[in-house]
């Protein structure tokens, strides 16, 4: 007898595919327009952004650790945490990542690192103190799924052209402002086309990247449910984390914003204008999705 695979969600898969497709299409259009408008000098920009993206990708673990103030801990320092992660990795058939702790009362966790070998899972002392064991497991499994799904790579790739568009906007505007006024024809100046196209590309890709990020979050929640088999603990963990987050003043959270896409819960809790601009789905939607998985699994949820 085979039990059902709970893990598949065709709706989510197709939405993810559609978002990636739109993002790809947008980037191709962007590249085509730029190439047709001016074909020299663009390579330079691509190389710079490529280098930046490469740098970001290869140093993602160090950057995130530094930005959040996380400290790698040995097995002797945090035996229980190590044991939990080891077993979850055994379950998910993953290499064991490095384990880090962030010393802050705000309960949260994140994963980073470009591949399984370089991966780090970090939890805050607040998470460890305020959540119970099963809830912590749910959160850890969520982070391990980010690693298994290679989300650092996916998001780096997804933001590559958005970064390029951002740079082009700036270059376009500067050259428009300070550039020579040699050709005073009636044609629209090149820098204006470049700037407009870049701004539009940047704006659309920004929304699409956030959409993709939200889908990756749902996927990680689902992965956590699959690994632990008990989505209800992740649900209660998310509720606890979010209620604690709103209690703590935002000032303390500023320095960790750079890595917010990979946190289990966004450190910035100010109400966004719309869901479109958030890199994490709203709590209610995540809870609803998890409750649906729990029902599929026949788990007791109230």
């Amino acid at each position: 007898m085979k039990r059902k695979a709970y893990g598949r969600d065709f709706g989510l898969t197709s939405r993810m595919l559609l978002t990636s497709f739109l993002l790809g299409l947008l980037y191709v259009l962007f590249a085509v327009v730029l190439f047709s408008v001016f074909n020299v000098g663009l390579y330079f920009g691509i190389i710079i952004i490529g280098g930046l993206a490469f740098f970001q990708y290869f140093t993602s673990d160090k950057l995130a650790l530094r930005a959040s103030g996380a400290r790698i801990v040995s097995e002797e320092e945090a035996p229980q945490l190590h044991a939990m992660i080891e077993r979850l990795c055994g379950m998910a058939d993953l290499k064991k990542p490095r384990v880090a702790i962030v010393d802050t009362p705000m309960p949260n966790a994140f994963a980073t690192g470009r591949n399984q070998k370089r991966a780090v899972v970090a939890v805050t002392t607040g998470l460890w103190d305020r959540l119970d064991e099963k809830e912590i497991e749910g959160v850890l499994a969520h982070e391990l799924t980010h690693i298994a799904n290679r989300d650092v790579l996916v998001m780096t790739l997804a933001s590559f052209f958005a970064m390029l568009a951002g740079l082009m906007t700036r270059i376009g505007l500067y050259s428009g402002m300070f550039g020579g006024r040699g050709n005073n024809n009636n044609t629209v100046p090149v820098w204006l086309i470049v700037a407009v196209v870049s701004i539009v590309t940047y704006a659309i890709s920004w929304v699409l990247i956030r959409t993709l990020s939200r889908y990756r979050e749902y996927a990680a929640d689902r992965g956590s449910a699959v690994i632990t088999g008990a989505p209800e603990y992740l649900m209660s963990a998310l509720q606890k984390i979010s209620s604690q987050m709103t209690l703590i003043p935002q000032k303390d959270l500023r320095e960790v914003q750079g890595v917010s896409a990979l946190f289990i819960f966004p450190p910035s809790v100010k109400k966004s204008l719309s869901e479109l601009f958030m890199d994490h789905p709203p709590l209610e939607k995540r809870l609803a999705a998890l409750a649906e998985i729990a029902r599929e699994m026949g788990r007791p949820v109230d």
């Binding site: 993810m16 044991a83 080891e86 077993r87 998910a92 298994a148 690994i227």
Partner: protein, 192 residues
Amino acid sequence: MGLRDALFGRSKLKDPASDDRLFAMSTARITLQSDLDLKPAGAAGVCFRALSAESFIRAENDLQELLDAVAKESGSQVERKTDDLGYEWLVVRDQDFEDLVTTVHVVASELEARGFGPQLLAAVFPFDGNFKEKRVYWIYGFKPGAFWPFVPTGEGQERDNAEELELKAKMEKELPVEQDLTRWFGLFNAPL
């Protein structure tokens, strides 16, 4: 699998590797005893998570059925335990080592037959040394389908890595040993 995971996210856990490799333990015992002076402790355990069954109650019934089935099939004693991290254990006791390995295999395949396959974590075989006080464990990971040694020092959650690497070097020829050291998870406080 890798690309699919990256594109759409992982959707399920890996099934256990072919479990024939578990039987390598039966023959490895001879070398462990003669060359390394390690005697089987007369018990072994299968560690898994019972959580993800389709239905909580059905999982409970399934496990009870399984215990009865195994008890009928073999002469070994089998009991159910839970450890401090909430994982389930089926502990097998038998003085005859080959029967012990066979029963562990039966327990694992019965669990798989009842749909717990993806939830199987590891089988554990403890050995006692004659001279050293230390207990040595051989852990079989169901997902990679390989063994690795686990030697807790007895102080907190420390492992004697030097001893573990020595055991790996000595047993590599006879046992399929997991080559990726980052997958050698320990099982402290195994209820054996």
